[in-house]
Symmetry: C2
């Protein structure tokens, strides 16, 4: 396991590069449109590549946006619970991993027998947009 970038197939590489070049989250259909010049024709080509990339930890899915982003820390696969701060005004997404939030959610999990698995998405307003 622990696929390196070199193990990626052509389609996976194209999708990952598209996400890495983007300045924010992209929907699957937006990725599709950007890759039509490279021969992409159907949503499934994108979804299949994303499925693998998610498994490799190279990409995250933002469920609240129905969109995807390249992982901001692709070299440290081991980080546990991460979180995204999503600005609902400008769409900016900030990936972070706060030790105290992690620890505290871990404590809540232990009390309740719940085991967190996926990134947490916090929606609100970033500094810039809150000021405006």
């Amino acid at each position: 396991m622990n696929a390196t970038h070199q193990d990626l197939t052509r389609n996976q590489t194209l999708v990952l590069d598209t996400l890495a070049k983007a300045d924010g989250p992209l929907s699957a259909y937006t990725i599709l449109d950007r890759l039509r010049g490279d021969g992409f024709r159907a949503p499934l080509q994108v979804y299949r590549a994303l499925e693998k990339l998610l498994g490799f930890g190279l990409v995250h899915r933002l469920e609240s946006l129905n969109a995807f982003v390249a992982c901001a820390h692709p070299h440290c696969h081991a980080h546990g619970l991460i979180a995204f701060a999503i600005c609902e005004d400008c769409g900016q997404v900030d990936e972070f991993s706060d030790a105290v939030v992690r620890e505290r959610l871990g404590a809540w999990s232990a009390e309740n027998g719940f085991k967190a698995e996926k990134p947490i998405e916090i929606r609100g307003h970033c500094a810039n947009c809150a000021a405006a």
Copy 2:
């Protein structure tokens, strides 16, 4: 503002009652199907009612599931940041509001100028499903 239950229209009442009776989150189209006997015919009837109920704080939207739940604490409208623990195996949803998580996220927000607005959704496995 602060509409009471009595201010609800017929459609809003039907939708809220459907969610309240359900034992878990429902999609808008599931609600629609359950209300066909009451004259509902189009998705918009459901979405419009949900829009109001969300505004009243009587219903929450689970963005990661594209589904909706009745608020577990409809009488205390003032609670700040709440969270849902969503089991990805059985679909059970646990609404809670942990003071330390709230406080800590507040601190992160202050450091980063980010202002959280919406409930947080934590996905993972509940005690029962983790055991299995």
